[in-house]
Structure formats: C-alpha cells, structure tokens
Symmetry: C2
C-alpha cells in the first residue's frame, strides 16, 4: 500500500485510541521525548505511537525531506517562485561555516561597532545628547520578530542591566495613532530612529519614516534638517540609492540579502540593529542559540537520528495533526509573560509561510497550514481555554522554563504547576463516572464532563536565557519549513498579500476623487466621506 | 420542510454563488446594511441574500430568540447551570430603567466619588504623595476588558488630557516576571493597587495581591504595614469578609453581583474603578454608549425591526457562518492601533462563552463557537492575511473609524483605504484570466490567483470616542449572547476551566513532594526538578 494510504489508515486507527490509554503506556511515553542541550521536547500527549513514528519516518524519506533540508543549507533556490535561496541559517553561522559569504560577518561587525559607539556615547545626537531611545520603524517581518525578542529579554537579568535607562520602541501601523503611541513622552534629542525596509518602499514604513523625520526636525530646530537626519536616523535596507535620497549616510545603512525572507529575518540586521543597540553584546548569545538549533536540524536530518531532531519532530507532528487528524488550528502557549509577543511572531511565521493554496508545482493543495493564535499562560486559561477543553480540538503547544527571570520560586512553581497540568487535563479529560463519584448533580454532568483526547506537546527549557531565546526562534523557523516541505509548498513567498495592496491603491484614488458608483464597497465609502 | 432543513438547503445553494456575483447586485448590497447613530454595519460581503435573511428571521422566531433576549433583560435566571440572572445591561442603565436595583447607582457614585478624590488629591498616599499610578491586579474577565478600554482611550483627546502624568498598569499572570514588568520604575509611594476578584480567592490574583502589598510595605517603611495597605490598596470584590482580613477598609471595596459574569463585567466596578481613576468623568460617556446599544438590542428584538438591530444581525450572521457555512474561525480586525487589545478581549468573551460541548438541557452540540483571533490592521496584513486570502476561509470582521484620534488625515486615509480594500480583495479574488491579461507567467498563475468568495462584515463608526468604545463593547457582548441563544447554549458559565485548576493543585503537591512515578507528565516533571 502507498505510504500516504498507510498513514491515513494509521490516523483512522489512532483516532479510536484515547490519549488516556496512550499515556498509560510508560514505555511509549519514554519514546515520545527528545532532549537537546537540556531542552526537553515531550510529545507523549500527541496522538502518536511507535507505528505512527515509523510511518512518519518512512514518509519523510519517501518525500525527500532530508534532501530538502540539505538543499536549503546548500543555498539551492528552493524559493522557486521567486528564484531565490533561503539561507537565514547563514546569518547565525560561525565563521568557519560560510567562507563564501564574508559579508554576513562584516555587516554583523559593523552593527556591533555602531551599536557599541551609540551605547558608549562616542556617537551622540546632533545636540550632543546620548541616544538612549531607539524607535524602530518596520512592519510584518521587520517588526514582529524583533519585538518578540525585545520583550522576551526585558527581564533577563543581564539584558535588564545592559538596558537600564534605555528605551526601545516599535512603530509598525500606518494608523497615525500608532505614531502618537510610539513617540509619547520620547525626547527627540535622545532618539535614534531605525527605518527597516528591505526595498525602502514599504508603504506603511515609509509614511512613518517621513513622519518620524518631521517629528525630529520640528523638535530639533537648532540644526539644519539634513544634520538632524544624519545624526538621528539609520536604516536596515538593501536599497542604498533610496536611503541616500532619504538623507541617511551610507555607513549607517545595514543591508541584508534576497535570500533572507522578511519573516525569517530576525537574525539579520532587521533584528540585530535594534537588539544590539538596546541590549549590547549579550545578543551574541542569541545568535549562538539559533545556530545550535541550526546545526541540530541539519546534522540529525537522516534516517538514524531524526527522532533526536526536535524541529523536525515538531514539523512532522504538526503536519500529522493538520493533514491526517484534521485539527485546523494551533495554539502557541508560552508559560512566560516575557514571551508576550511570541505567539504574534509565530502566527506570522506560520500562517504567512504555509497558508497557501498550491504546491510548488502549482497543483492545488487540499489542506495547508492551520490558524495559529496564542497568549501567555496562565492568562489564556482564564480566556480561550474553555473552548480548548470543551469546544473544538486545538493542537496545543506548551512552552515552559525550569528557572524564572525572577527569584520568586513560589510564584514560578505556581505558574509551572499549570504548565504541567493543562496538557494532562486536555488529554485525560474527566468522565461522567468520575463526576458521579463526586456526587455531581445529574443535570450538571454533561456540562462538567471533559471528553479529553486533545493533543499537545511541551517544550521545556532550562531557562529563558538569551541563548534559549535564539533556540526557540530557530526551532519554530525550522518547524514551519518542515511542514512546508511535507506539503511540498513554497513556504518562502507570500503572493497572497498582493491583491489587497493593489485594491487599496485604487480605493485611495477613489477617496481622493470621491467617485464610488458601482464600487463593491460603495455604501461604506460614502459613509466614510460623509463622516470623516 | 422544517426550518433548519430549509436553512441547510439555502446554505448549499449560496455556497455555489460567488461573492463576486452577490456583490454585483446593487439592490442586495443596499439591503445588507444597518445604521444606528451613524454606525454603519455593512454585511454585503457576507454570503447571504434576501432569502437567507428571511429564513434567518424565521428561525429567530421559531427558536424564541426575541423572547430569550427579553428574558435576559427581565432578570430571568438564563444562566441555568448556575441558577443566575444575566444582567450586565443593568450596569449601564439609566436611573429610570432599574428602580429595583438602586445599589447599581450607589456603587457607581461611590466609585466616582473615590476616583474624584484620588484625582484631585483629597486622597493621598500614606506619605502624602498624590496617587498618580494605578496598578490593577486581576485576570481573565477582571483584566482583558478593562485593558482593552484603557488602551483604546489612551489617545482619545479628552482622555489623553485627563490622564496626563498618570499611569495605569495591569498585572494578570501568576508568572513572577509579570510582576517585574508591571512594577518596573513605579514609585510605590505614588501607587494605588486595585485588587479585582469577585470571590477574593482567585489563585493568580491573590498571589499577586500579596506580592504587591509586600512590595508596598517593603518600600514604604516610614509607616506601619497596616497603614500602608489602608492608604494604598482598594478592591473590587463581593467578599467583604476576605477584603477586611486583607486589611482593606470597607469604604474602599466596590462590589458587584452574581448576575455579572466575569467576561461581561467591564461596565461593573471591575472596569469602572480603574477607568474612572485614570480617565475621570469621561467614563460616563462609555456607559452611555453601552446603554445606547443595550436599548437598540432590546427595542428592535422583534419581527418588524430585527434587520435594524446590529448586534442581533451580527449574531445571526456569525451563527450562519459557523453552523451552516462551516467556517471554524473568526478574525477580529480593528483598523485602529488604539484597539490593540480588543481582539484579546473578544477572544475571551466569545470563546469562553460559546466554546461549549452541550446545550442548556445537556444534549451535545455538534458545532459551537469558532476560534477567535486578531491583530490591528494594517499590521495583520503583513502577517496572517496571507492565509486568509489563499489558505483557509476565515470569517473576517473589519472595524473602522471615519475620524482618527490624530490630526494626520493623510495617514488615516492610507489606513482606511486598506480597511475598504481588504473585504473587496477577500470577496472578489482575482481570476487566472485577469492574471493572463497582465501577462503573468504561466508557472506563477496558480500562486498569484485568488479564489475570493471569502466572507466578511464591516463596522464603520464616526470616531473612536469614549461613547463609541462603550457601543463597540456592547455590540460584541450581545452578539455573543445571540449566537449562544441560537445554539441554545449557556453562554454564561465556564465549567471547562475547572479541570485544569484541580490538576494544577495536584501537580503542585507532587512537585513539593517530588513524587512523580506513573504521573502522565512524569518525564517533564523530573526534568523540571532537575533543572530548576
């Protein structure tokens, strides 16, 4: 029988076996773990058994998964629709790993040098004040990743110390309200604006960039505008022509390459410029962490070791859950308030990469990536977990840390007790028999029972160090790539965002000329111009 | 034929008609709107026609929807499993509307009086300093709603003026990192802590409350602890016994009632205490806004006027989309950065209310509430919209404003052009023929085409005033209730959150005694104690 048919058979079988029964097999539970540098990946609460794993391994080989992974590292143009390589792993590679791309290290050194000089006061604002504030302007991939890392490290003890007295803010939305929020109580004389846009043409970013320079120059009137921009603006971009036209000195422009996709760009200058400016050399560890997972992912992409390859396992399980068990959504649930913006980053990474309609060869896909959402636990428990326990089945991904940024171990134990309890509650459920034993009134039994059999996996790190933050990022980057490889999608383009942009330009013209007759949003547009 | 069967037939038919064709009928588009106080609700981009609306109206009657709505306002115990009334509408009612509940107005006056005295300096901290900082401790329903409103009003010109020099922060997560974040650079001498818990026993909240008083008393050593707590702590709770034991004076405790569910409590003391403290009497308008929708919802809950009843229409459409068109997820998409936390509140409101497994009578439901997620536009366009356009079909809800909090009309026009363009892009799509006309290379056609036919609705308000913020809240509160009524669920209990809590207590004991043998999370627990 063909491997996909056997996987389908296996899915049909395992759907009938309750997770309560799977979890009662201690040997199976031992098998369903992988450990790397004391990161424990435990997928015993997923609907898999030894047979499932064997079949998944067989499918991985038959679909050329290991070769696809190697092709990515080798720089083959696996982003076929745009004819580009996909080499974000190079961004955190050690020197010996990429003699062919010396410019990666050169730019990293330039960033560290610039950030160091801003931090130690060698580089000052035009009026002689230190640049304590960083205002990052970027959207999508130029925003969500850096913001997640910035938030994650805010309370990490070393980063906390390194950023005392400093502010790092992000401005993404074209909504002028976001500009008000981002610049609220910020002193322009102490502010360095970082404009992040590969092409330097992104509509939202360029409008905010112009607003930011107007804000700087209207507040700092002691010097000519050009001088203010020279001293207070830098850029992350590949378009030196446009940055120069904008008035930014070349030595303050940090580039990246067409082989770095926006949502995979956190470890490029996109993330490194703001993060080194705010947290200093600590960020070296972030790159090392990502690199450690990059090496794991490549080195164990083979038949003998794939069960030790955590990102690969995460990808196989996610694909299995979505394709065969047909769970259409996925919750990312970090038990850490420091990861408050992690789910938003993964939502982009996953949904933009794998929310696709066709394979690389253009043939339609029946199923592709799921809906991704999440909030930190325990907050989510008091919100959407009701549905996860008694409504629809959601693939749940728990992320926890043995040690906290805080010294309050009592509160951390309380937090982690919930981290351990929720996967159990989702998997085991509570039967009507158990309720009757507790003398639950008959009328309430259907309301208080839990079917259970809801799958999850858990990632348990020693601590949310700077290094671990890089590991977490790379785990999810590669996981998303694996799922795309299994569906044979291109996870590295995003043509689905184009149509909205085109139509927005047309709407803008219609608003300017106030002609809406026959427009599909005629009623709304008329209401707008009558009430604005 | 039975009405549900006819609805199913209608669904099967309308699935075959592309939204492109529905939208080409201008008369239909005119029908698919409702207007209330210049809020335009436009559902022309939903998969409905005149026949669908007629059938939905017929079903509303047959299922007693209008009666159920009246029963809620009359105080019948529609929260059957907990035998409680559901009367959050009373919280914002005008005096004449509830002679039977004078205490609602009394508490509101007490809150306004207390907030006024804190704001004008009659009430000071124990060391004589003004209480500029409000630290709100609460979780779930005692957190998400107030936070959404606080963020929404931050840049509203009147609220901005009223809150100059003031800080309002929220502390929800039991993660001790959240405590570090929430108290960072806060001066305890100028801080008033508001502890929000109906029972005053919520695990997370009480742990954070104890930490907050320890933080206050360890910093303010000039006065005895009891005095510090008396001056710096107030509570929103129904448990006067426990608040007294905590050391809080009775006159600083603001109660609410068992007929106010947590996620419906924003207009009770839960939201009013922090919001009046931070924004002052402006919050009157917030209550008036909610009340205006409450009256619309009740007064037009009848056969002749239901098509003018926006929250009712929102509920019927949501139910239609989920039950018959089988879209399992819903995106809440405010084109306003001020609504940055609105989707998180609605996620809780909707998923906790309608993520259920059985009807009120205990019989199982096949389908109930969808997955709800969202981020402000245009940010989301650079993130998960790829999937919405080319992956799974998501019911999309666009929320926009004719006027901005900012005077930058160019940026606001840019924002709103996207607000109008996205529903069109989702509905219309782009055909292979159109692509070929643009000379799109053959190999790219499958990647660049858009099937369209993806439904949405749009809510367009004149501006995000304080009043509109209350209207928006009430629109969604009632919409969720309508969907619950149609499914015949109890949208006002949440038994699905209990099991996790019980298991967490057991895990805490297991961690304390370090005995995990045979525990379903044995591997994880062992890893934890070895690495913490």
């Amino acid at each position: 029988m063909e491997i996909l048919a056997r996987l389908q058979n296996q899915a049909n079988q395992i759907k009938q076996i309750h997770l309560r029964d799977l979890l009662s097999q201690r040997e199976r539970n031992q098998v369903c773990t992988a450990n790397f540098e004391n990161i424990l990946f435990d997928y015993s609460h997923s609907k898999v058994c030894q047979t499932t794993l064997d079949l998944l391994g067989e499918y991985a080989i038959s679909t050329g998964l290991f070769d696809k992974i190697r092709a990515m590292y080798e720089g083959q143009h696996i982003n076929t629709t745009e004819n580009r390589a996909v080499l974000h792993v190079l961004l955190r590679a050690q020197e010996s790993q990429h003699p062919q791309f010396p410019e990666v290290l050169q730019i990293r050194e330039r960033i560290k040098d610039f950030a160091g000089k801003v931090r130690n006061g060698e580089i000052l604002g035009v009026t002689g004040k230190p640049l304590f504030n960083i205002l990052c302007i970027g959207i999508g991939g130029s925003y969500l990743g850096p913001e997640f890392v910035a938030e994650a490290l805010k309370t990490e003890p070393n980063c906390m110390r390194e950023s005392i007295g400093r502010n790092l803010r992000f401005l993404a939305n074209v909504d002028p309200v976001d500009f008000l929020r981002a610049t609220h109580e910020l002193d322009p004389e102490e502010t360095l604006v970082v404009i992040i846009s590969k092409t330097f043409t992104t509509a939202e970013t360029m409008m905010n960039a112009r607003k930011a320079t107007a804000w700087l120059t209207s507040h700092i009137t002691s010097h000519p505008s050009e001088k203010v921009i020279e001293h207070h603006v830098c850029a992350v971009s590949s378009n030196l022509q446009k940055t120069k036209e904008f008035g930014i000195q070349d030595e303050r422009v940090f580039g990246f390459w067409d082989w770095v996709g926006g949502r995979y760009s956190v470890t490029s200058a996109v993330g490194l410029v703001p993060l080194y400016l705010h947290y200093g050399p600590q960020i070296d560890l972030f790159l090392q962490g990502a690199n450690s997972i990059d090496r794991l992912f490549l080195e164990k992409a083979n038949l003998n070791q794939w069960k030790e390859n955590i990102p690969l396992l995460m990808g196989l399980l996610g694909w299995w859950n979505t394709q065969f068990l047909e769970y259409s959504s996925r919750a990312v649930l970090p038990y850490s308030q420091a990861l408050v913006r992690f789910a938003a980053h993964i939502q982009q990474l996953d949904m933009e990469s794998n929310g696709k309609q066709c394979k690389k060869d253009g043939t339609p896909v029946e199923v592709s990536g799921p809906i991704v959402f999440g909030e930190p636990g325990t907050n989510g428990q008091h919100s959407f977990y009701q549905l996860m326990h008694q409504g629809r089945i959601v693939q749940s991904e728990f992320i926890g840390f043995c040690q906290s940024h805080s010294s309050d171990s009592e509160a951390h134990n309380e937090l982690m007790s919930n981290f351990f309890a929720q996967p159990d509650a989702l998997a085991l459920g509570k039967t009507t028999e158990e309720l009757r034993k507790e003398n639950c009134p008959d009328a309430l039994v259907p309301h208080k029972m839990f079917k259970g059999d809801r799958p999850s996996f858990s990632l348990l790190f020693p601590a949310l160090t700077v290094n671990a933050c890089g590991q977490l990022l790379a785990l999810y980057e590669h996981r998303v790539a694996v799922e795309g490889f299994l569906w044979d999608l291109n996870s590295f383009d995003q043509f689905g965002v184009e149509l909205g942009k085109t139509l927005a330009t047309k709407v803008k013209q219609a608003i300017a000329s106030e002609t809406f007759e026959g427009h599909p949003s005629e009623n709304l547009l008329l209401h707008y111009i009558n009430h604005r």
